[in-house]
């Protein structure tokens, strides 16, 4: 029986791919690789086999700082009482093509 316990876990990388066009990089998934170069190669094999991908980023998973679900309301709901951040808050004499 293989004893994988003795093997080190290879580092985890998050993969972001940019599809052709004006798209931003989007999270695609994660892969394992011993270093950045190999991570890029593995990401290519797993996530860019046929789509028209323009660019790939790989980021060590531990390097990402993420918001926590319990903080999210405080972080993201704050704008609800700031309706002056939306164009509908502003009135002009009559509806025009500029509205």
């Amino acid at each position: 029986m293989p004893d994988t316990d003795r093997e080190k876990e290879t580092p985890l990388w998050e993969v972001f791919v940019q599809e052709a066009g004006a798209e931003a990089h989007q999270h695609a998934g994660s892969i394992h690789a011993t270093d950045a170069e190999l991570a890029l190669q593995n990401a290519r094999d797993v996530f860019a086999r046929r789509e028209t991908i323009k660019s790939i980023w790989v980021v060590p998973s531990h390097a990402i700082t993420s918001s926590q679900p319990e903080d999210e309301p405080a972080l993201f709901d704050a704008a609800s009482d700031k309706i002056y951040r939306h164009p509908q808050f502003y009135k002009t004499e009559k509806a025009s093509d500029n509205d």
């Binding site: 994988t4 093997e7 998934g29 994660s30 011993t34 086999r49 999210e72 709901d77 609800s80």
Partner: protein
């Protein structure tokens, strides 16, 4: 709305396990997507780990029956398609392993359970591919069944699983289409080719119907999986969809369905099949299928023979990191 959302999270912190679960289930009913960091019942997590692991392992083991024909594909066109398909299966396995890891289990741990035989994979990959027609049948029937299942899972409640399924579904149609092309050509070919297709179809028809799992009343996981929004349709519903779709397709190919009891039920508008030989399914699940031992041995051997590659990659990364530190 906004107020409500804030109120909900504050409430969750003060909630008992039972209340939390109730709140969670109401989110599922409201078709909300669950993301890795959010609270989830332990049972939800366990079911996902079990099901997604099995799914990932199926993609990986699924490379074996098809890989068997790469060197003997009848033309270059067929060979490049088959190589690309088998590579896709590896990719699909990776998408799902990556999604399982978001549930806090390591890939090594998940994979070890495949190798030590404690995790399952789809019973269908324990059948041998004894003729070229089997490659066509796998694409048409096995991938066809997988598409029905995965299209449903692409709308499941767990975000990372749903997103992995979306990626897979985009690629799976090529798999099915190349299989159907193989079957179609054989069925329009010589008498020997047609006989080869029929012989293969006879072997694959019933096992693919079993891929959807036990009948609803006998499936111990279905009710819970549906409550959790992981499965949105029952085993029997999905199986019926597959039957209705493929009875017609088989007729178009000119294949005879190996089921003397099959008939079209005017009232329900569905094809009704005879009894599924479930004893065979249980035997294969128990490890007594034609290829269980062979499949697992192949994966263990691949893992062992690949060990030096993993070690070399680690050593190289260390060396390179040291060299960079010196610069």
């Amino acid at each position: 709305m906004v107020e409500g959302h804030f109120g909900r999270t504050t409430r969750i912190r003060a909630m008992s396990e039972e209340q939390r679960t109730k709140d969670f289930l109401s989110r599922i009913d409201a078709k909300e997507t669950i993301e890795p960091k959010e609270w989830m019942p332990e049972r939800y997590r366990e079911q996902l780990v079990r099901m997604m692991s099995q799914h990932a392992h199926s993609e990986i083991v699924g490379m074996l029956p098809e890989g068997n024909w790469i060197t003997r594909a009848p033309s270059l066109r067929r060979k490049i398609a088959l190589i690309a398909k088998v590579q896709d299966e590896a990719g699909h396995g990776h998408y799902i392993y990556s999604a399982v890891e978001t549930l806090g289990v390591s890939r090594e741990e998940v994979y070890r359970k495949l190798l030590d035989g404690s995790a399952k994979y789809s019973h269908i990959f324990n059948y041998p591919t004894t003729s070229w027609a089997d490659i066509g049948m796998i694409g048409w029937l096995v991938d066809g069944a997988a598409i029905i299942n995965q299209t449903m899972l692409a709308r499941c409640s767990y975000g990372p699983y749903a997103r992995a399924m979306l990626r897979i579904c985009k690629e799976e149609n090529f798999h099915k289409k190349q299989g159907m092309e193989i079957v179609s050509r054989l069925c329009r070919g010589t008498a020997a080719q047609k006989a080869m297709a029929q012989e293969s179809f006879d072997r694959w028809w019933w096992p693919t119907l079993m891929m959807f799992g036990l009948p609803d009343e006998k499936s111990k996981n279905t009710a819970e999986l549906m409550q959790f929004g992981i499965k949105l349709r029952s085993n029997d519903e999905l199986r019926q969809r597959f039957i209705d779709m493929n009875v017609k397709q088989a007729q178009e190919f000119g294949l005879t369905i190996p089921d003397p009891d099959l008939y079209f039920d005017e009232d329900s508008g569905h094809w009704q099949i005879g009894p599924i030989p479930w004893e065979e399914f249980f035997e294969v699940l128990k490890g007594n299928g034609p290829c269980n031992r062979e499949r697992l041995d192949a994966k263990i051997r691949a893992h062992e023979e690949g060990r030096w590659v993993r070690e070399a990659a680690s050593a190289f990364a260390e060396k390179r990191a040291k060299r960079r530190a010196k610069q």
